[in-house]
Amino acid sequence: MVEQPSQASVLPAPGSPVARRRRAWREFKDRAARYGVATGGMMVILAIVLIFFYLFYVVFPLFNNAEIATHAEYNTHSQNVTHVTLNEYNDIGLMLTMQGQARFFNANNGEVIVEADLPLPADSHISSFAKGASSTGVFAYGFADGRALIFKKDYKISFPNDKRKITPLIEFPAGKELVRVDPQGKALQLLSVQSSEQQTMLAGVTADNRLVLNSLVREQDFMDEDVFTIEQTSAEIVLAENLQVTLLRIDIDQRELYLADVDGFIAYYNIEDPQSPRLIQRIKAVPTGVDITSMEFLTGGISILVGRSDGQIDQWFPVRDQDNNYRLHNVRSFHDQAAAIVAIAPEHARKGFLALDEKGQIGIYHTTAHRTLLVEPLVEGGSAIIAVSPRANGLLSLTADGQAKLTLIDNEHPEVSWHSLWQEVWYESRDQPGYVWQSSSASDDFEPKFSMQPLTLGTIKAAFYAMLVAVPLAIMGAIYTAYFMSPTMRRVVKPTIEIMEALPTVVLGFLAGLWLAPLVEANLPGIFTILIMLPIMTILTAWAWTKLPSAWRKRIPDGWEAAVLVPIVIAVGMFSMMASPTLELWLFGGDMPRWLNEAGIDFDQRNSMVVGLAMGFAVIPTIFSITEDAIFGVPKHLTIGSLALGATPWQTLTRVVLLTASPGIFSAVMIGLGRAVGETMIVLMATGNTPIMDFNIFEGFRALSANIAVEMPEAAVASTHYRILFLTALVLFGATFILNTIAEIVRQRLRNKYSSL
């Protein structure tokens, strides 16, 4: 059938080219809109998903293990090398031989850069070598005549033509003269050295098995920097005759001296007073049949790492007991290597170390995190010496036949493990293991303490006290509003409470911190009176109401009880506040916070109670609104049926309405909990933000969210601290997302149930 185009139509005839063109254009627009909207919509959804993935992407490197890659291999044609070091940029090495050669070489190919000229005596030969803490770069040679030479490596960095130029050099902190370590002139079989600006300490075991201790105090001349005098004091410790000392170490602060011997004992001396060294403890550190094969200080000089012949490495440090005595404790052990540990190289800035065993396997460890990051073969045929660069990203190894290898290490975040985040960790200088969050400090060799426990507990504590306030008030309020309140009043009450949901939490936090906290502190008994008196007074009012003449009662219809109670609530509040000083005098001797302190309960002005009240206030509208909707949505025929069968309104409520609406109430509580867990400003402003492990209502806490707000601005990008803060954000994200999802699913089920009823 062919349609006849009407003459009067303004539309082009169907099928005409114009109409076809127009239709094609419209179809194009339709399709364009479809794809445009789809792409736009998908992009927004992707952007939202991106949040999760980006957080994860930042956090992920925390859990990577270390990786090593060989960078260069060459032969140095050197023998008898006793020690190597590697500089910060992995390009210059220093090797020290038992002949007294100090050779700086290119770490990438072994070319000699400069051979330092050490003032070696002609009449004696080197009998021992010692190295100080790697951050100081101090070394010493001990000679067969009981003297020692102390020297120090240094790198001068200059930028001629905008290019970095490193000039290695050797300095002599105690002068170029040799120091007489053993007054009796016996050969130094073992030597240990530490040196700081002011003081140098040398300890040596002589050929006739005496332990000599020397302290050199440097007095700088006021006028000339290069002029100084040295004041030497020495002491001697006689060792048991059959004692065979194998290792000797002084800590960087020159306060402690450790000896290891053939029988597997470690002796721990206090040498704070170099003239009278004191033996604190001698302890069997390894089981019988196992030897101590190496011993080094961890950076900071508090812990010693003991390498054993069975491949295990133990960390020991002194712990103070009840009687204020220090005792060595084996704090943790690593047993991921199978052969005797021949060399341990502590990292310079972190509490990590590298260990090489007899079979040539290298292990990378971190002590605080109790984490083995890598165990891999490094050198063929065992015995080698190793050096780690100050940035812990380069490893130089040198075998006895002069074969050298430069290995690059990728090990950015060894400090973090499940153990260090969530379990009790025994930190250095602490009496016992504990959960501590202390992310930064002024000192360089600080052991970062990244336990998430106190923060998580803080968040839980905040949420708990907030829910304690919010749940009863919000749910009871919602029950009344939805079920008993007169519609006129409900129209006012519901929006009033709901509008508070939008109230900025910074305002609540400010009021909590600056108004409520001092108020609570000054009127503590009054606050408790309010809590006790309010329900009692409500019931009494209700009772009194029944006693009122019915003419009076009829003036206020049912559903307006809440309005009757408003003046009562205000009166109770005011009365409690006014009675507070009297009560305080009567019950608590006039100062309740002090009374609490005397009873052994710590009291902070900004405490969990204040947070509970303020955050409870913030959460009430959320819970109230959802609960109210759920109860109000209960189909009317259910309640009418119940009432018709003779149940009282209260019976109908508890047996019919609440049961039906319970999933809705549950999801309201979940959503409220989610809000309390993530809330930042209130917990930031209303507590002292101290990370403590305590559930005391009168003390503060530090929550995950507040911790992010406090520390994020000062965390260096891509540092471990930065990534851990991202991890805390991810934890918060995950926790709230799960809570909300549960709530949402429950709510959708409920909605389906209502529609089917």
């Binding site: 919509g41 919000a474 939008a502 900025p504 911190g513 000054a522 329900p535 993530g678």
Partner: protein, 556 residues
């Protein structure tokens, strides 16, 4: 009924109903009480309170006179008073104490003083006490003695007060001129010079040899800027000399006579001599100064205009991002996407995102927007000014984007709700008439859903205006040196940091050195923020309600 016993009464459930009612009453009292607290404290800040003169004698001390404003009175137990160093006579268990704002911080050390009620004498309100609002060191109270010009006494006694007003106006006008020169004119010059430095650096990066034509041109321009600068410095010197002409002498409560240059004075009044009408006028003026002025003294005094400006601008830029994206996503979810388990999952996820803590968005914004996006933008477009970051640092743009992400679920949910409320008949009618899906959407559905989108947007704005935690990481600062909009191209500086009302509350309330003095100002700021947010929410609610009414009529 009246004869019932207690146990039957309990059985009837009536007490529990009352208890539930009590919960509502408590909530209402808390809500209203909180709003009243903020309102009363915030609004009373601007009221020119009477200043009392009080004789005060500590036991064993000389009687002294205190001049100040009564701030607070409380009853405290003796033991607590003892810990503050006040010993009450034995037998007296509680004491009354008053907090007096005595001002004159630079002479007394502290501008607040607790005084013990029983040691205070009779208070009087002499009309001649003046309250001086100073540019530095807070308020100043005392008796005006004389006016000096270049050290010469011009007027004293009652004449001094008459002479003062006109001289104060003059000095304030001069100071406004100086400020204009310093801020605007010198700012322009600095901006010009900085631009030249960047050009220089760019030439260097491009490898243009020194002494080329471009370099000479730059040198030329630099000379011109420097000339203008010298000119302005000369003008400033003249103005500064003029502004320092007048001084006034004030006697403070301990009898000392203090000379204050008028250049240091913002305002001066005699509150005790003012009538109610005058006070109301002053009140209005103070409110205006608060809303339109710049902050002084580490934000603890003066106005909060930059914070209002920053908040509004940030929220507006956020709205520009959030509206189209939120609406498009909602249309996609509701109209185009195939409704199935995946879309249901996405919908739940979007819903939940509204409940994710805002601090998480802040962390994301800092990591992704600031360091990742911003860092890359800097390397590509602003390499000349590196290592000083342009976009690789917290700023207005990143703050707006972060908040847009935070509020996009709100817009999506509201728009979707609006779309689902549109009766099927309307859609089907349009389709039946031959309109394509896009035309149906564009011509009939979207216009009807517009109020819903509006609601979503307003709710988003209200939420964004009140958020502080994420902003602390992505661009808010304590004191921004310049507004983000000015007369220098490109006029809108998205890379600048800005001030924000919510952060202002946090900062002044918790980080400022003199919290006690700043407290009323924080209340006023909080009141303003709460008002903005409540008004926005009320608007959203009323739009939503009207919308529901409309659809009810279409459906029936």
């Amino acid at each position: 009924m009246s004869k019932q016993s207690v146990s039957t009464w309990f059985k009837s459930g009536s007490p529990w109903i009352w208890l539930n009612a009590g919960a509502v009453s408590i909530s209402i009292v808390m809500v209203v009480g909180l709003l009243l607290l903020i309102a009363v404290r915030g609004l009373s800040h601007f009221w020119p309170a009477d200043i009392m003169a009080l004789s005060y004698q500590e036991p064993g001390g000389e009687p002294i006179t205190l001049i100040g404003e009564l701030v607070d009175t409380e009853v405290v137990t003796a033991l607590r008073l003892k810990s503050t160093g006040v010993d009450l006579p034995s037998g007296q268990t509680t004491g009354e104490r008053h907090l007096l704002k005595v001002g004159n911080r630079d002479y007394f050390g502290l501008d607040f003083r607790w005084i013990n009620g029983s040691w205070a004498g009779e208070a009087s309100y002499p009309e001649k006490i003046v309250a001086v609002e100073r540019r530095e060191w807070g308020d100043f109270f005392g008796y005006l003695l004389e006016i000096r010009q270049q050290g010469q006494t011009i007027a004293s006694g009652d004449d001094a007060w008459a002479e003062l007003q006109q001289r104060l106006d003059r000095s304030n006008k001069l100071i406004a001129q100086i400020k204009q020169l310093e801020k605007s004119d010198i700012g322009t010059i600095n901006h010009g010079l900085e631009g030249l430095r960047l050009k220089d650096r760019k030439l260097e990066l491009e490898g243009v040899v020194a002494g080329s034509v471009q370099h000479q041109q730059i040198e030329q321009e630099r000379k011109q800027w420097n000339l203008r600068y010298a000119d302005i410095t000369k003008q400033l010197a003249v103005l500064n000399a003029a502004v320092n002409r007048d001084q006034m002498v004030i006697q403070i409560s301990d009898g000392r006579e203090v000379e204050i240059p008028l250049a240091k004075v913002v305002d001066i009044m005699r509150p005790n001599a003012m009538g109610v009408g005058q006070k109301i006028a002053t009140y209005g003026r103070e409110v205006w100064k608060f809303v339109s002025g710049d902050p002084r003294e580490a934000n603890t005094e003066g106005g909060i205009f930059p914070a209002i400006f920053g908040t509004v601008l940030m929220v507006m830029i956020m709205a520009v991002f959030v509206t189209p994206f939120g609406v498009v996503a909602a249309i996609y979810l509701k109209e185009y996407a195939k409704q199935g388990p995946i879309i249901r999952l996405i919908r739940i996820a979007v819903n939940n995102l509204a409940g994710v803590p805002s601090i998480v968005y802040g962390v994301f914004g800092l990591g992704f927007f600031v360091y990742f996006l911003g860092g890359n933008i800097d390397e590509i477009f602003f390499s000349a000014s590196l290592p000083t970051p342009t976009f690789g640092t917290p700023g207005l743009l990143w703050a707006s984007l972060t908040l847009a992400l935070l509020t996009v679920p709100v817009v999506i949910v509201a728009t979707e709700e609006g779309l689902s409320r549109i009766p099927r008949a309307i859609r089907e009618g349009s389709l039946a008439l031959g309109a394509t899906k896009a035309e149906t959407l564009w011509r009939t559905v979207l216009p009807m859903a517009a109020p819903a989108m509006m609601t979503g947007l307003i709710l988003a704005v209200a939420r964004a205006a009140g958020e502080v935690a994420p902003l602390m990481m992505v661009g808010v600062v304590k004191l921004a040196p310049a507004l983000a909009i000015d007369t220098v191209a490109p006029y809108l500086h998205l890379d600048r940091q800005f001030m924000h009302l919510g952060f202002h509350i946090y900062d002044v309330g918790f980080q400022s050195p003199n919290v006690e003095a700043a407290r009323p100002l924080v209340y006023a700021t909080a009141l303003l923020l709460v008002l903005i947010i409540i008004v926005l929410n009320m608007t959203a609610i009323s739009i939503r309600n009207r919308l529901r009414e409309n659809f009810k009529s279409t459906e029936s």
